[in-house]
Amino acid sequence: MAHEHKLEIFRGLLKFKSNTSKIWGVLVFLSVVTAIEVALGIAKPTVLTGTNLLGMKLLNWIFIILTLVKAYYIAWDFMHLRDEKSSLRRAIVWTPIFLVAYLVFILLFEADYVYNVYKDGFVKWNF
C-alpha cells in the first residue's frame, strides 16, 4: 500500500498541505461543477441549446465534458488512482474507455439510422 500521497491537483496549480485538506478541496471543486451543471440545466441558455456541434446541442456537450471532469477527480482523488502505479492506472482507465467509446459510437449511429427509417419509411406510428 502506497502511503505517500500526491497532494497536487490541476497539474500542480493547487498544492495541499495534507491529504485531508486535498479531499475537502476536491469536494469543493466537485460541488461547484455540480452547481454549474444544475444552473445550466435549469436556465438552458438559448445560445447553448440553439447551437449544434457534431449532431448534438452545445449544452449537452458541456454537460458531458463536465461529467467526465467530475469522473476524473472522483477516480483520481477519491479512488486514489493518482497514488497508484501508472501501469495499474492505465489498465483500469483505458480498457473501459476504449470499449465504451466503441459501443457508443456503433449504437448511436445505428439509432440515428433507425430514426431515419421511422421518419422516411412507410410505417405509420402516430395514430
Binding site: 485531508t20 479531499i23 460541488s31 454537460f63 472522483i74 477516480a75 465504451v100 406510428w125 395514430f127
Partner: protein, 328 residues
C-alpha cells in the same frame, strides 16, 4: 542448467514475489470487479442513448418529469436530484476520510467517518425510493392513443399542464364488475384509472381552454425544443384516437411519453439503487468489524480502502446517471 548465469537482479525479477502493479491481491480483484461493473453500466447507458436517438423527436423532457421536492408543492425541476448528488458526493468524502484515518490507524475516526458514510448512503437510497414512488404515482395523467402515443393536456392560454381531474367529466357508468360467483374462469380486477376515455373526451369538449400537447418536440423556430401544442380544433380531432387513460408509470406504459423512458428509468436507477443498497450493507459490516477491532489486530485497514473503492464507484456511476437521465 549449469550454463545459466544468475545475477542478483535477475533473481529478483524471476524469483517470484514481484508486485508489478504495486497493489495487493484484494485491491486488484476489487478493481477487476469495478471495471466489469463499469462496463455493465455503460452498456445500460449506451442502450438508453440508442433508444433516445431512435426517438429523438419524441423523447420526454426530464425537466418536466422530475419536478418534485418532498414536503414542498410546486415546480422545482432537478433541485432534488442535485441534492441527492450532493449527498452521495458528501458520503464519498467521508469514506475517503475514513480510508485516510485507517492509514493512520486512528480507530475512532474510522468509526465516525464510516458511520457518516452509512447515513449518507441511507439518505440517498431513501430519496431514490421517494423518487420512484412519485414517478409511479404520476401527477397530471394522460391519454394514450391507439398507436401508443401519449397525449397530455395543457391550458391554451398559459401553457401550464392541466390534470385530468381538473377537467374530466363524471359520466353515469353502467359498468358492472365481474365477480367470482358469476364466472367459471375468474381473475381479480386489475387497477382501473380514475376516469374513462369517454369522460376525458367529454371534459375536453366542455372546456374551451384545454388543448392537447403531443410528444412531438418542435425542431425549428422560436419554440424549438418544446413539445408541440395543438390548437383547439386539432385537439378535438386528435382525442378521437384516444384508447386508454394513463396515470403514473409502470413497465408497460407511462404518462410522461415514450414507454422506453420509464423502462430505462426503472432499470438503470433501480440497478444503481441496488448497488447503493448493497454498498450500505457492506459498509455496515465493515463498520462493525472496525468497532470490534478486527483491522486493528490485523495491523492495517486495507479492507476499509477496498470497500471505499466500491463506494466511490457507486458515486462515479451516479454522476453519469445524473447527466444522462436528468441533464442531457
Amino acid at each position: 542448467m549449469d550454463s545459466t548465469v544468475t545475477s542478483a537482479s535477475e533473481e529478483n525479477v524471476w524469483g517470484g514475489g514481484n508486485r508489478p502493479l504495486g497493489a495487493s491481491y484484494g485491491k486488484l480483484m476489487m478493481w477487476f470487479f469495478l471495471v466489469s461493473d463499469a462496463l455493465t453500466f455503460s452498456g445500460f447507458l449506451a442502450a438508453y442513448g440508442f433508444s433516445r436517438f431512435k426517438f429523438i423527436e419524441t423523447w420526454p423532457i426530464a425537466d418536466e418529469v422530475f419536478t418534485h421536492v418532498p414536503f414542498f408543492h410546486g415546480n422545482f425541476p432537478m433541485y432534488y436530484v442535485a441534492f441527492m448528488t450532493f449527498i452521495l458526493i458528501m458520503s464519498s468524502v467521508t469514506m475517503v476520510l475514513a480510508v485516510d484515518a485507517g492509514h493512520n490507524n486512528k480507530k475512532t475516526a474510522v468509526i465516525w467517518y464510516m458511520f457518516l458514510t452509512i447515513i449518507g448512503g441511507a439518505i440517498f437510497v431513501g430519496s431514490q425510493a421517494w423518487e420512484w414512488a412519485t414517478f409511479i404515482k404520476g401527477d397530471y395523467g394522460a391519454v394514450e392513443t391507439n398507436g401508443g402515443r401519449i397525449l397530455q393536456f395543457v391550458n391554451a392560454e398559459t401553457g401550464d399542464r392541466v390534470a385530468l381531474s381538473e377537467f374530466a367529466k363524471t359520466l353515469p357508468d353502467d359498468r358492472t364488475e365481474h365477480e367470482r360467483k358469476n364466472g367459471v374462469w375468474y381473475y381479480d380486477e386489475g387497477y382501473l384509472p380514475t376516469y374513462t376515455v369517454n369522460e376525458v373526451i367529454a371534459g375536453l369538449k366542455a372546456n374551451d381552454d384545454v388543448v392537447i400537447r403531443t410528444e412531438q418536440i418542435i425542431q425549428e423556430g422560436e419554440l424549438k425544443g418544446e413539445k408541440m401544442v395543438l390548437d383547439r380544433a386539432a385537439s378535438l380531432e386528435k382525442i378521437k384516437d384516444g384508447a386508454l387513460v394513463v396515470e403514473g408509470a409502470n413497465l408497460i406504459r407511462n404518462e410522461y411519453g415514450s414507454r422506453l423512458f420509464a423502462d430505462f428509468f426503472f432499470f438503470i436507477t433501480g440497478f444503481h439503487g441496488f448497488h447503493v443498497f448493497s454498498g450500505v450493507v457492506i459498509n455496515i459490516i465493515i463498520f462493525f468489524n472496525v468497532i470490534l477491532g478486527t483491522y486493528e489486530r490485523r495491523g492495517h485497514y486495507e479492507m476499509v480502502e477496498k470497500v471505499g473503492l466500491y463506494w466511490h464507484f457507486v458515486d462515479l456511476v451516479w454522476v453519469f446517471v445524473f447527466t444522462f437521465f436528468y441533464l442531457v
